[in-house]
Structure formats: C-alpha cells, structure tokens
Amino acid sequence: MALAPLDEEITLEQLNADPYPIYRRLRAQSPVLRVASAGRTFLTKAALTKEVKDNPELFSSDDPNTPMKPAFRAHTLMRKDGEEHLRERKAMMPALTPKKIQSDWGPLYEKLAAEYVSRLPRGETVDLFTELCGPLAARILAHVLGIPEASDEEMQRWSQRLIDGAGNFGWKPEPFAASDEANDEMDLLFGQLCDKRRAEPDGSAYSVMLNADDPIPMSQIYANIKIAIGGGINEPRDALATIVYGLLTNPDQLAEVRAQQAWGKAFEEGVRWVAPIQASSRLVTEDTQLGGFDIPKGDTVMTIQASANRDEDLFENGEEFFVFRDKNPHQAFGNGPHHCAGAHIARRTVGKIILPMLFDRFPQMRLPDPGAVIWRGFGFRGPINLPVVLN
C-alpha cells in the first residue's frame, strides 16, 4: 500500500478561522491526509477516529516529547497509557461519577448557577461569554476539584496558560514562562490546602485522591488537578456559548426545547455541532494501515472529532444545528480509555442546570446580530464573544 496523500496547501490560519468546509471536502475526497502545516495525518471520518481511539496499544497517547510536560511540570494522565493511566484516572474518578454529581453536588451547582445567572443585568446587552460562561464554569470546577479558594480569575488564567503551554509546539520560551508562573501559584495553593482536604474529606477530587487507601504520588495528584483545570473550564464555557447561539439563532427549536424541556438533547447537539475539543493526537506504535493507506510507526495521527461529528455516514445535514435528531452518536467526549473524565459534570451542569435556568430567567433573550459572533479555533473551538440582550 501507499502512504496517505500529502497536502501542502491547508494552513493553520484557515483551520483556525473555519475548518468545517475543509473537513467536509476531506471526508469526501481524502479522509486520511498528511497535512504538512500541522505535521500530522488527519483522520476526518467517524469510523477512523473511533478506531484509533479505541485501540490504545497501536495508537498511544504517550508522547514523550509533548510540550505538555514542561507546561504542566509533569507527565499527566492524559499522555499515559495502560495500567499507569488507569491508576491515576481511577484515583480521581470517585469525585466525577454521575451519581456523585447528581446527589452530592447537584444542590451546590444549582446554587452557584443561580448566583451567577441572577447577577446578570436585565434589559442590557451583555457578553455572555465573558460574563457568565467562563466564570461559572471556573467556579463549578473549583468546587469539584476541591480548590474553591481559587478565584474565578485565577482559575481561568491558570487554565489558559496551561493550554497555551501545552500547545506550544514551537517551543518558544514565553508560553512556558507564563505556565511556570501559573504552576507556582497552583502549587502554592494546593500545598496550603492539603492538610485541610485530608482532615476534612469533602468528596472533591483533591480530597478523594489524598484520602485514598493507596494514594498516587503527590506529584501526580497535583498533575491530575492541573489537567482538570486545563481541560475543564474552556470546554463547558465554549459548549454553553455554542448551545445558546444555536438556540437563539433557531427560535423554532428553542420553543420546542422549552416545550419538551429537552435541554439535555440541546446540550448533546451543541457539542456535536461544534466540538469544544476538535482534535486529539495519537502516536503510532507499529507500522499499520488506516483507510487503505500505510501508516508508519512514529507517525502522529490526528483524530478530528469535529469532523467525525458531521460525518455524512452518521448524520443527516450534519452541518446544521438540529436538536431533534433521531440519533446523536457524536464523539465530542472522545472514545476509549481517555474518554472525557468530566463528561458527566459537563452534561449535568451545562445541560440540566445552567441552560434551563438561563432561559427561564430571561425568556426574551435575543441575539441581535448573529454576524457579530466570532468563532475561533482549530484544537479547541467555540465563539469568543456572545453579545445578547437579556430580557
């Protein structure tokens, strides 16, 4: 067999501005494509992205040269495989299960959401992205993780710096200097809170990891909290903004969602339509084949779940936001062992609590100019502003 075709035309700027027309073309013409500008082999069909993520022996998350290492000052669970990954993941999981979130955390989340929604001014134009989506996601996560002492501003700043450092494939010094500073601040806070979280178990991720029978090393406890900070704010923030946009630009669907109280469905459709994490990388451990092409050992493949989520094989009119699809087998939370650890939190907080509360409090909310909303991102994607009139 032959190597996959090589593309030297697609630029990162194009992908960052709007990757969807490109993905649509690739699904039809070149679902396995080496993209020179990204230095990765793009996989754009749902069957291929799933195959790769479900097969961690052949497609490893363990990239020894990832900029994530210096950015997090640790080799995090997201970049580990097998037993090692499982052990660290399980250490945190008791804080993140559906039941835990429903029964123990539910009332707190309701309270936090009510607080943040009710302080929004009525009758004015408000950028929901900066005024609600980001801060509320940060506050909820701070509680889940067991670091509510951190401010919304700190949580968001740390998150962004970790992400920027982890994506610093050019290995420039400034992003690492910024993530170092964030790491210093986080390490200091975690250190200060340690004794308290150990002495007074509260079900938060930090407390659960500290009090386990056979705890993982302290360095990995810190690393796990950091990966959740890096991976747990921007995605629910972007998901919320995307769904509100989708509903406000489709008033007939909004009416039906209200009538049926189908907020959970609206959540699933929002993350399908514009996946907050659009792509993930995997390192190829053995010579293999995908979609009829040779994939050599050492290659890095990129599973583009953003594209899988609009695959014509699975979705009718996938380019459109349509809440009431028969089936919605999207891959926005990934597949396989690295399936999102925060999926249940995101579903409950955004889908079951925040969305209904927001539309209940502001039944006449409007998006006066959908064209003013700017969408950005290749690795992560969502609106970066959402000017709505609240009424």
Binding site: L96, T97, H339, H344
Partner: protein, 107 residues
C-alpha cells in the same frame, strides 16, 4: 450467533443476533439499540452502559469483573444486585437468549 433481548425502560423489547465473544454493550451499540450508550467503547471509563440482568439469567452471567464495581457505583440510575456494566458481559453460547433490562437514563 447469540440472541440477546434488551428491554427498554418503557417496556419496548429489541432482540439482536450478536457474534460469539461480542459484549452486551457492543452488540447493542452496533445494532442501534436505544438506552445503551457505551461512549468509552468498553474501557470502563464512562458508566453509560449500565444494565440490569434479568433475574432468570443472573447466575449464568456471573459476577462483576475486576474494577467494574467502582465505575458501576457511579451510574446515573439506581444500582442494585442485578446491575452490570454491559461492556463487561461477554457473549457466548451459554448466554444465548440472554435478557437484560435498561435503566431510564445513562447520564
């Protein structure tokens, strides 16, 4: 081939023919059975393939697998002594005709 019947929360029954060695989760997902999500593909990471084994089949299906308990405990709906993660039930001739019941929701 092994027959499996899924009884949805509203009582709807769906019977599928699965391959020997397939899991109850995978057989459902590949035959478009509603009520089992199985998002993580069987890695015991998502707790969205919870099912209740029919009483008549409980003995034959056997005990929960290593590590299943922890994840199962976190499932969205009530967990009882018939609860399993369906990704951990492997089908074989001994389970031909298996009946499982599905919870109201998986997340």
């Amino acid at each position: 081939m092994v027959k499996v019947t899924y009884v949805a929360h509203d009582g709807t029954q769906t019977t599928v023919e699965a391959e020997d060695g397939d899991s109850v989760m995978h057989a459902a997902v590949s035959n478009d059975v509603d009520g089992i999500v199985g998002e993580c593909g069987g890695s015991m990471m998502c707790a969205t393939c919870h099912c209740y084994v029919d009483e008549a089949w409980q003995d034959r299906v056997g005990p929960r697998s290593d590590g299943e308990e922890d994840m199962l405990e976190g499932a969205a709906c009530e967990v009882n002594d018939r609860s399993r993660l369906s990704c951990q039930i492997k089908l074989g001739a001994d389970l031909d005709g298996l009946v499982v019941h599905l919870p109201e929701e998986q997340f």
